[in-house]
């Protein structure tokens, strides 16, 4: 099912996400203190190229990482057919990238 290349990609994206998610988690804990408003979120992020890159790369990594993982799970637990699984995971990949980049665009630009 998984070969060295896909594996490498999945592990690399996991490593790349480590600081991103850690930051995100911490941010959420502090930002959420007392509730979130759109203004707060947008005030922090809008117009910042830094945050655009931060969340943009996060989206790409998460999409690739998640899609590969999804493909494996689909194969092992639901449909043991690599073609079907690949197609489904590519669909997930595209959805995640599409919606994700749109969200990044929305909150940062």
């Amino acid at each position: 099912m998984i070969d060295a290349r896909l594996y490498l990609l999945q592990r690399l994206t996991a490593i790349a996400m480590l600081p991103l998610i850690a930051t995100h988690l911490i941010l959420m804990i502090f930002a959420i203190n007392g509730g979130l408003t759109a203004e707060e979120i947008l005030g922090r992020t809008q117009g910042s190229i830094g945050w655009a890159l931060f969340y943009g790369s996060f989206v790409l990594f998460a999409a690739v990482h998640g899609a590969i993982g999804f493909r494996t799970i689909l194969y092992e637990w639901f449909i043991p057919n690599s073609r079907v699984c690949s197609i489904a995971s590519i669909a997930l990949l595209i959805t995640l990238i599409g919606l994700g980049l749109r969200a990044v665009y929305a909150v940062t630009l």
Binding site: M1, A4, Y7, R11, P80
Partner: protein
């Protein structure tokens, strides 16, 4: 003594070539009694149609493994006292992940085919005309290879692994463990083919570190650790700056 003889309540998952069913048996207990002794007693005294496999009876040949109360174990070295509770109940079924031939005998063909597929055999760099190589017993590679070497091909790890269950092609812990042993063997010349084999889409990267293999290996080997080693080695092989894992 005789009047109050205790009996084990044994349930066995059976397969007669066509249908699956269960049989139950009452087996007299003895002080010294392994699960292999229990199935032997049943076959000899209660139900001659029962089929099982053994050879060495001391944990060396790896032919007698079966699921005992749901866990894969070697039957010849599993004392009944260690697996039954006060209810004296014992459930026995064949190993998982291998086609059942009859009752407790499974077909290990694929298991060994994968062994070969993983290049789980030595590729020589010397011949019998060369002197025996001097190898320091404490050298790093030697010690590492030694850790994973004492495998009896019993298939217990293979049977404990849910990835094998889910993915027919997966080479499985035993073959990969052997591949890793050979990767650390400085005398071997097959690492290129072997790395390729274990990097394929049937290879080591399918392992999700479930650790069923290391949990159940009767020889206390750790295939999970070996497979992790292979994963590292294959990455170093793919990465431009990588070479040898040390």
């Amino acid at each position: 003594m005789k009047t109050k003889a205790k009996h084990l309540q044994v349930t066995i998952d059976r397969f007669d070539g066509e249908s699956h069913y269960q049989t139950t048996h009452e087996v007299p207990t003895r002080d010294n009694q392994t699960v292999l002794d229990v199935v032997t007693w049943i076959q000899q005294h209660d139900d001659p149609t029962l089929s099982y496999r053994f050879a060495c009876r001391v944990g060396m040949c790896g032919s007698c493994a079966m699921n005992i109360n749901g866990e894969p174990k070697w039957s010849c070295r599993t004392h009944v006292n260690k697996v039954v509770d006060s209810g004296l109940k014992l459930t026995i079924s064949p190993l998982r992940n291998m086609p059942i031939l009859r009752d407790l005998s499974v077909d290990m063909t694929q298991f060994f085919d994968k062994w070969t597929q993983a290049v789980g055999y030595f590729v020589p760099t010397k011949t019998k005309d060369d002197p025996l190589p001097a190898i320091l017993p404490d050298s790093r590679d030697r010690a590492k290879a030694n850790q994973s070497i004492e495998c009896i091909n019993c298939g217990i790890c293979y049977s404990a692994c849910d990835v094998v269950a889910a993915n027919d092609a997966y080479l499985g812990p035993a073959a990969l463990n052997r591949a890793w042993t050979l990767m650390n063997d400085e005398r071997d010349g097959g690492s290129k083919e072997r790395l390729e084999a274990v990097s394929s889409d049937a290879g080591c990267h399918n392992c999700h570190s479930q650790h069923g293999c290391s949990t159940y290996c009767p020889n206390l080997l750790a295939p999970a650790t070996s497979i992790a080693g292979l994963k590292r080695q294959t990455l170093l092989n793919v990465l431009p700056w990588g070479s040898r894992d040390d």
